[in-house]
């Protein structure tokens, strides 16, 4: 174990005024019970600015549940979330988004019959002329901002005026990701963004993630793909049966996939998480 550079995330960082700390997100004792199902138990998690952290774990380990608590999709049972220096409890996904958390959910939230700019600006349309619900759309500005977002993320889509239903799974995923990049977010979360994609499409999504890294945008990436995680992330946090059981720094490059798998399957547990196992 000593060869692993680990860090215990709970309570280690004092929190300062918004924006001054280098921690963007921290959860303390975050817990979610669905009736008798303890889907998430006492999760202490920290993400620093610019850091890309992978969340791994078996199906049903509680990864998506964790994300749903942070993004306001559900209300957590217990615990605390500190985002950008402030204690937060988002009532709905919109509040989380307004606070600067952009999420690519496991089930894509795209309107199939609309085109790329329409989807990027869904719910926050740019308007030329304010008339309440009948405000006039500024299609040109939305197209231009869409192009900017696609360039920023390196997404290549043959024709942004095509409807989503005519696109491949990879292109859809790219649109969903580009959508998070259109607005100046403070944190991006992706829940298994490449699970349903082919090799090339996966590579495209991975390129987008690299671009985000270069731009210093913090990311939480849920993935089952060991190579991908090793390539793209600074740290792996492993979930098992609703609890965090390992927090592994992989920047040094001395961590093997086998070790991570051992944590995922329960063959190993880091000493500081022993009580959780």
């Amino acid at each position: 174990m000593s060869d692993l550079q680990t860090n215990i995330s709970s309570g280690e960082f004092p929190h300062d005024a918004p924006g001054t700390s280098d921690v963007i997100l921290e959860t303390r004792g975050l817990t979610k019970h669905y009736g008798g199902v303890h889907a998430l138990e006492n999760a202490n998690f920290t993400l620093r600015k610019g850091e890309h952290v992978a969340i791994m774990g078996d199906n049903g380990a509680g990864k998506s549940t964790f994300v749903r608590q942070i993004t306001g999709v559900e209300q957590f049972t217990r615990g605390e979330i500190i985002f950008d220096g402030k204690n937060v409890k988002f009532e709905n996904p919109m509040e989380a988004r307004q606070a600067g958390i952009e999420t690519v959910f496991q089930t894509l939230a795209l309107a199939d019959q609309l085109d790329v700019p329409d989807n990027l600006f869904l719910g926050r349309e740019l308007v030329k002329f304010k008339l309440g619900p009948f405000s006039i759309l500024d299609y040109k500005a939305m197209r231009e901002r869409t192009m900017e977002a696609l360039v920023k993320t390196g997404v290549k889509i043959p024709n942004i005026r095509g409807t989503i239903e005519r696109m491949s799974g990879g292109q859809r995923q790219c649109v969903a990701i580009a959508r998070t990049a259109t607005f100046h977010s403070k944190l991006t979360i992706m829940d298994e963004p490449t699970a349903a994609l082919g090799v090339q499409e996966t590579a495209q999504v991975e390129n987008i993630i690299r671009t985000l890294k270069e731009q210093g945008e913090p990311l939480i990436l849920i993935s089952h793909n060991m190579r991908q995680v090793m390539d793209l992330c600074d740290r792996i946090v492993v979930f098992r049966r609703g609890r965090i059981c390992a927090d592994i720094d992989i920047t040094a490059g001395d961590v093997t996939g086998e070790e991570v798998v051992a944590y995922i399957t329960g063959a190993k547990t880091q000493p500081q998480f022993e009580d959780a196992a």
């Binding site: 926050r124 040109k140 290549k156 005026r161 409807t163």
Partner: protein, 357 residues
């Protein structure tokens, strides 16, 4: 940006690359159906359907028949504009026919003249103080009735778990009952000239065209339109994006109610009378026009242009049957077949779309 523009990194928004608009298919269908009636006319009747073959008219076209076709679809067409946005939003509205009946009765009650040929109005609903009012009064009263009905539909659908089919079915029965209760089943007649003028001549056609253009623009260029498509396309995505889906739905059904009421005003003004049974089955005709025009019952797909073309197809088929001197019974049966056929076509289109994915 009319021509192909290559953006950075090979990104394009090429207008020419866009898929062929589905409205074009509807237009082809319209032309095809006219062609069929022309052929049948030539063989069975020895005369042309739409063209002036007998030199009876000054112009090349049979204007009389064209006018009849457009006139007979324009009142239900106004309802179909409302149905179009309801169906695009992923809902359905079965109440417009009954709302037409109720609105016609109430609006007409505020549109009556005090004296008919020197005698007191035999169909008077209210006392003389409520007669000979300017046309704006029955118009506003009528629209309010439709807006109220639509608002109730919308609130039920958006804030309870009652599906649109059931909520609007309830309104269909209730509004029809209210229409009969209003005068205990008596017709209301003798409107003022001002009110009658709303429905005379080609006025219904003009109003239909104006409303169609207005709503085509609204659906295409406003936030309201975009969100209506978004909700019909993926309601969860719309909600996740922060759209207030419930409030939007209330607006959609309220507008549909207002349009049904407007159709009622035009219809009663055209007929110079209102009866509790007015508008029976209009909702189905409106839905048929909408679906024929390419609006998908699954939501998210379709346009006002499509619905207008669908309305014309509907009108052409009905007057085509009259032209071929087929019984009214056949017309009704064929209407039923058209409605079912349009839905089958929609299912087939959806299946094809799903297969492509």
């Amino acid at each position: 940006m009319s021509e192909s523009t290559h953006g950075i990194g090979g990104l394009t928004f090429d207008a020419k690359k866009r898929a062929r608009p589905p409205e074009l298919n509807v237009l082809f269908a319209l032309i095809l159906i006219i062609g069929v009636f022309e052929l049948l006319g030539a063989f069975l009747m020895g005369q042309s359907f739409l063209f002036d073959s007998a030199d009876r008219f000054d112009s090349f076209l049979n204007e009389a028949r064209l006018k009849i076709i457009i006139l007979q679809v324009s009142i239900i067409g106004i309802i179909a504009i409302g149905s179009t946005q309801v169906i695009i939003s992923g809902g359905i509205d079965l109440s417009p026919g009954s709302v037409v009946g109720l609105t016609a009765m109430i609006a007409m009650s505020f549109a009556q003249v005090a004296e008919v040929n020197g005698n007191p109005n035999p169909k008077a609903v209210f006392g003389p103080a409520w007669m000979d009012l300017p046309a704006i009064v029955p118009l506003v009263v009528g629209l309010s009735v439709g807006i109220a009905a639509g608002l109730i539909n919308g609130l039920l659908i958006a804030y309870t778990r009652i599906p649109p089919f059931i909520a609007t079915l309830g309104m269909m029965v209730t509004a029809r009952g209210a229409a009969k209760w209003w005068t205990k089943g008596q017709p209301v007649s003798f409107p003022t000239e001002g009110y009658a003028s709303i429905g005379q001549g080609m006025m219904p056609v003009l109003l239909f065209i104006l409303l169609a253009v207005l709503f085509a623009l609204i659906l295409r260029f406003t936030v309201y339109g975009k969100r209506t498509y978004a909700i019909g396309s993926n309601e969860d995505a719309a909600r996740m994006s922060g759209i207030n889906v419930a409030r939007h739905k209330v607006l959609v059904y309220t507008i549909a109610g207002a349009l049904a009421a407007f159709a009622a005003v035009v219809l009663s003004a055209k007929n110079l009378t209102a009866q509790a049974g007015m508008g029976v089955m209009y909702e189905l005709d409106a839905i048929a026009m909408t679906v024929i025009g390419g609006v998908s019952l699954a939501g998210g797909r379709g346009s006002i242009v499509g619905t207008v073309l669908g309305a014309l197809i509907f009108g052409v088929i009905i007057s085509g049957f009259t032209f071929l001197r087929l019984d009214a019974y056949y017309q009704e049966m064929v209407k039923g077949a058209i409605i079912v056929g349009a839905v089958v076509l929609d299912q087939w289109r959806q299946g094809r779309m799903a297969a492509k994915m």
